[in-house]
């Protein structure tokens, strides 16, 4: 029963996703689905980062780098034209194994390149290997040192992308073919495939959430939380802190890479703007706003904030809005907006302040209002 209860929110979200699709289709507002689909892929990065930051307490300022490793690997492999090398033994071998397919580019010229499945697997493998190699030394670091090291990693990936001609430098890579998952099922950003891709993205997110929830509730999840609470204590109790931290670092990089691969096929292009430090900070903001150790908070905030940002609601103040949200949340609601169990404490705290006739800072009141309302039904 408890096993089942754990999945009630998952089922509720799936129901909400279906209802949303029906409503959007009925009101002929399906164009919203494009941004929702993109937000869902970004949410994958956020879910992974939430496991790393929220549960294991390890900061990463380089997750856009892992996203880019996924996205750029698939972009390069599926657009690399192997036609001139058609007769080399290696290409012939790959061809006979069905790893290569022929298509036509937008000008009608033939292109022989790796199939997206090959690229997908290669991208994930590469992300895991790089995350492991980077993680080996870096995950030993703490606090500021870890933040700066991961930031440095992100910057190096950015420089490589910007400087490497194979990565299209400032232009990025475009004309990336759709990802045929099965016959008739493909990751494709074109309008006829909108509803299909909406469901593909949400299926991937649902799978990631189920995986993450199970992980958090497992022995590994308990170990991670003990590391977050007090690493020395966890270590002295026999938790192999280093191994667990490394594992979760690699896993969260894998989540980011999956998001990167799928979004790249969906958009048909990828550019250096996906790899900037600001992108990494954005993922971190979303995890923080969601309440750090709160997978559902991370998912909701990931969808909502990315959706608003992609719709251009924030205009040229996009980055500034994220920064302000970040600071306000950190100062006034460090447990995140959706953290319900803390509400009674906050409520008591406010009352206690009023009792002692201390002026309540107006911002605190402002922040507390939506919480009080949403918490009303909670008791």
């Amino acid at each position: 029963m408890t096993q089942f209860r754990r999945y009630i929110p998952v089922i509720a979200v799936i129901a909400a996703v279906v209802v949303l699709q029906v409503v959007l289709s009925a009101t002929h507002a399906t164009y919203y689905m494009t941004q929702i689909t993109m937000s869902a892929y970004y949410a994958l990065v956020v879910i992974g980062l939430c496991l790393l930051m929220g549960y294991a307490g390890q900061v990463s300022l380089g997750h856009a780098g892992f996203f880019a490793i996924g996205g750029y690997t698939t972009a390069v492999l599926t657009t690399l034209n192997l036609l001139p090398y058609r007769d080399t033994p290696l290409v012939k071998l790959c061809s006979s194994l069905g790893l290569i397919f022929q298509r036509q580019d937008i000008y009608g010229a033939d292109i022989l390149s790796f199939s997206p499945w090959v690229a997908f697997v290669a991208a994930l493998l590469l992300a895991v290997i790089i995350a492991f190699l980077i993680g080996l030394p870096v995950i030993r670091l703490k606090g500021h040192y870890l933040a700066m090291a991961t930031l440095g990693f992100g910057l190096i990936i950015y420089r490589i992308v910007l400087g490497g001609s194979i990565f299209g430098q400032a232009d990025g890579i475009s004309n990336i073919p759709p990802f045929m998952i099965l016959d008739g099922l493909q990751v494709n950003g074109r309008v006829p495939y909108r509803v299909m891709n909406y469901y593909i993205a949400w299926s991937v997110v649902a799978a990631a959430m189920v995986l993450a929830i199970n992980l958090v509730g497992s022995r590994i999840g308990r170990a991670l939380r003990s590391i977050h609470e007090n690493e020395e204590a966890a270590h002295s109790l026999g938790v192999d802190t280093y191994r667990y931290k490394l594992f979760i670092f690699v896993l969260s990089a894998l989540f980011a890479a999956v998001g990167g691969v799928l979004l790249t096929h969906y958009n048909g292009s990828i550019g250096p703007s996906e790899v900037t430090v600001m992108k990494s900070v954005r993922y971190l903001v979303i995890v923080a706003v969601g309440g750090m150790a709160n997978l559902w908070g991370a998912l909701f905030m990931g969808i909502i904030l990315n959706f608003l940002s992609l719709r251009g609601v924030f205009g040229s103040y996009d980055d500034a809005v994220f920064a302000i949200i970040l600071i306000v949340i950190m100062l006034f609601a460090p447990q995140g907006l959706l953290r319900m169990p803390r509400l009674p404490a906050l409520w008591h705290g406010l009352q206690a302040r009023e009792d002692t006739a201390k002026p309540v800072p107006s911002e605190v009141e402002g922040m507390a209002v939506p919480q009080k309302q949403s918490g009303g039904s909670n008791g």
């Binding site: 870096v138 500021h144 040192y145 910007l162």
Partner: protein, 303 residues
């Protein structure tokens, strides 16, 4: 790229040395800014690089109305006040926050400052005029042609470093700040207002940052988003010298500046950024206490 190495004659070596020392001394000033705040609060202020840009940008704007020395002085004062304001508004409220939260807050501040600068000063690359002479006037030393601005950079950096040492050693305020760095609770028990010392440390590092930003502006020019790379390099230098150790930061800064310049002279300019990041990662992995630091101290501090 030619890893075999380009042959260099003496004037060229001198030329590169000066270039390296110039950027290196600026890195050192950024690192000292990091150290001042780190020592009193245990926070790494990710917005340190932005102070340089705010200072330079303010001076550039003011220079339209007032003479250069006045513009720089005002810019330093304004940035100093801004530093204090940031501490009062953001950092003081977050006193009980964890390191993770504080990192996130200062990152937020740095983005906010960068975006504000983008909207105030747009994306254009600007610069202050050369303090003496013009962009083409040079002084010849050992056959190398050095811009007089380089001497300004070196001179001002030296004055900042020389000034800070007696400030921390002999003045009451400086000693109080050091006391807070040593043991905040004990300092408070001695009657030191530790909260104001933290504010002061933000003001001080904002002020010297602004001054450094002004003197380097004619050489490197100034753009709204140049703060982050400066912060990374400043942090590399601070780590290289051992976090909190300002004198070692000077040595480390000059070292990084020289290494970077000579690598640039041999390889592609595109790899300039990568040099300091690779050094940063190596030093973090192999000697997180810095080149001159004792291991245990930083290990304790880092937690």
């Amino acid at each position: 790229m030619c890893p075999g190495g380009k042959k260099m004659n003496l004037p060229q070596v001198v030329q590169y040395c000066f270039a390296g020392i110039t950027v290196g001394s600026i890195y050192a000033i950024v690192a000292i800014g990091f150290n001042i705040i780190y020592n009193t609060t245990g926070i790494i202020n990710f917005a340190q690089g932005e102070f340089l840009i705010v200072g330079a940008m303010t001076a550039i704007s003011l220079n339209h109305f007032v003479p250069l020395p006045v513009a720089i002085l005002l810019a330093v004062v304004i940035t100093t006040l801004l530093g204090g304001l940031i501490e009062l508004v953001f950092i003081r409220r977050a006193q009980n926050a964890s390191v993770l939260h504080l990192i996130v807050i200062t990152i937020g501040i740095s983005i906010l400052m960068r975006e504000a600068m983008l909207h105030i000063w747009d994306e254009k690359v600007r610069s202050l005029p050369y303090f003496t002479g013009t962009g083409v006037s040079t002084i010849t030393i050992f056959g190398a042609h050095i811009s007089p601005q380089v001497l300004w950079v070196l001179g001002v950096s030296a004055v900042i470093v020389m000034g800070l040492t007696p400030f921390f050693r002999f003045t009451l305020t400086g000693r109080a700040m050091r006391a807070c760095a040593d043991d905040r609770m004990a300092a408070r028990l001695c009657g030191i207002n530790d909260k104001w010392m933290v504010t002061l440390s933000f003001m001080l590092s904002a002020g010297i940052g602004a001054l450094a930003g002004c003197v380097i502006s004619p050489v490197t020019q100034t753009q709204y988003d140049m703060g982050a790379p400066l912060a990374i390099k400043g942090f590399t230098v601070a780590i290289l010298g051992g976090l909190g150790n300002s004198m070692a930061a000077v040595v480390a800064g000059l070292l990084l500046g020289l290494v970077e310049t000579f690598v640039m002279s041999q390889f592609d300019v595109a790899y300039k950024e990568a040099v300091s990041i690779v050094i940063l990662l190596l030093i973090l992995v192999f000697r997180p206490s810095g080149l001159f630091g004792k291991h245990e101290i930083t290990a304790m501090r880092a937690v």
